[in-house]
Point group: C2
Chain length 299, copies 2
């Protein structure tokens, strides 16, 4: 993604969260980003598309962090809680929730479809994580449980927003997860379910898969941008990652462990955003090649 385009996105995001989507005109964005109307419509075909790009970016960013956080530790409800937390934090920092709301109305069919995919991908993630974390016996109920959990959580958040309550997220999340457990046991006990497993994951991905070789290239080129004292370290990482990426069956766990530290090398450098964007594509490729069907993950 073009650097300039990134800049425009950043400006637009800034304005959207300051003034809200509806109250931000395209002219505002042009002024803030210092570009002309023609350029804007070169990048995005509409204001809506610009909004979608912003949301998608943040969404994928949180997906990256979720993957990184899972690396190393033994899996369990706490990890799942942290993964949920990540998205909440990102949502708050970037104030995404109002933007989601903005999408819901707006009548635009494309936007609604986009939202639907995001929504389903989150449910699919939740469903598969529930099975991973709580065990295979939860599979028949995981879809229902995912919906219930997601609903409880978002309702709590919305309520907190309405009344300006400053509950910290971890408290809410663990509260919800404890309810989730008891619900799962209850569902199993009465063998009750409404939504069959796997109902969410028939989504098509939002973007076409990036090219493998090109992505592998990108990693190496990325490492070259590091300051001298880190470059050798970075090149080690990037060499390994690009090999692994191009291999027949990338070793998911290894990549998980290495990708996080590698990306973190770029924190604070001018290439942090380029690093994030590259790693997004890496994850996409990796998930695809390591068999997306077996492990439905984000996007």
């Amino acid at each position: 993604m073009n650097e300039r385009k990134q800049h425009v996105l950043a400006a637009a995001r800034q304005l959207f969260l300051e003034n809200g989507f509806a109250h931000t005109s395209i002219q505002n964005i042009l002024d803030e980003a210092g570009i002309s109307k023609g350029t804007f419509y070169n990048y995005f075909s509409s204001k809506n598309e610009c909004l979608m790009a912003i949301i998608q970016q943040s969404w994928e960013e949180s997906a990256i962090l979720r993957n990184e956080i899972a690396a190393g530790k033994p899996d369990g409800p706490e990890v799942m809680g942290e993964q949920i937390l990540i998205r909440l934090r990102l949502n708050r920092e970037q104030n995404l929730l109002p933007l989601f709301d903005a999408i819901l109305s707006s009548g635009d069919e494309e936007l609604r479809g986009f939202m639907k995919e995001i929504h389903l991908s989150e449910l699919a993630w939740s469903e598969s994580r529930i099975v991973e974390v709580y065990g295979e016996w939860t599979r028949p109920f995981a879809a229902d449980a995912a919906i219930l959990q997601f609903g409880m959580l978002s309702q709590f958040l919305r309520f907190s927003a309405i009344l300006d309550i400053k509950e910290d997220f971890p408290v809410i999340i663990s509260f919800i997860l404890r309810r989730l457990e008891v619900i799962l046991r209850d569902l199993a006990e009465h063998n009750e379910f409404l939504i069959p497993p796997g109902r969410f994951s028939n989504t098509v991905s939002l973007l076409p898969l990036p090219d493998v070789d090109e992505t592998a290239d990108r990693i190496v080129r990325l490492a070259d941008l590091l300051p001298d004292e880190q470059r050798s370290k970075g090149l080690e990482y990037s060499g390994f990652l690009s090999e692994e990426l191009a291999s027949e069956r990338p070793r998911l766990q290894l990549i998980r462990t290495v990708a996080g530290p590698f990306r973190k090398l770029f924190d604070g450098t001018p290439h942090a955003s380029e690093a994030r964007s590259t790693m997004r594509d890496v994850w996409r490729v990796v998930r695809d090649r390591s068999g997306a069907a077996e492990k439905p993950d984000e996007f």
Copy 2:
């Protein structure tokens, strides 16, 4: 409320649900209702206000039906389920949910405030009903449980809408209510809660309370409009209701029982909508006089 204004509201509602709020222009409404722009802005100060009027109307209508359904039967989870069902049905028939979404964005501060009140009133209703239905021991957890229940339900509905699933409402509701029970037991067992009781009900009502005597008058005048063969029956009802209304402490249960059949007399007559509107005010007055604090109900 003016008959003509009602007509405009009906036309607007029709268009909103056919084409969505965003895709309905004021001009469309004018054409559909056969009025001029000036008249429209006599009735509503803006398109938003028109939307609010529509939602409020439906909302109160379902509140009336909820009250009516509670009459007679012994209270319990089934009654609560039916009461929830009523709102869902009305929401679906009148396709309100997209209109709610429309409100969420739109940036308009007044609309958001309106939505917030509706939301809180629903939570307050749920909280108080939970205590009534499941017992006093649930009080400390009822607020949390209300949020969780509302969240689970709306998430299920949203999901059904997204995937065009035709689960019937009763199945979903009883599914949710069973979860609610087990959650309540769990919360009590661990003595866990986040939101203290009564947090929702500090809402101000959306409309000023109607005048008592005037409302009592209205009931009697209303009964006069009935066709000959029903008038005597109607007058009996209306006489009782207006007395009860004006009394120091209206007997809530009695009124509950009588109000429904009385209103139903007008079904199919040209005054059905006038009857509904009158009964809305009756309920408001009654709830106020029978001690709203003790029994926080709708609005």
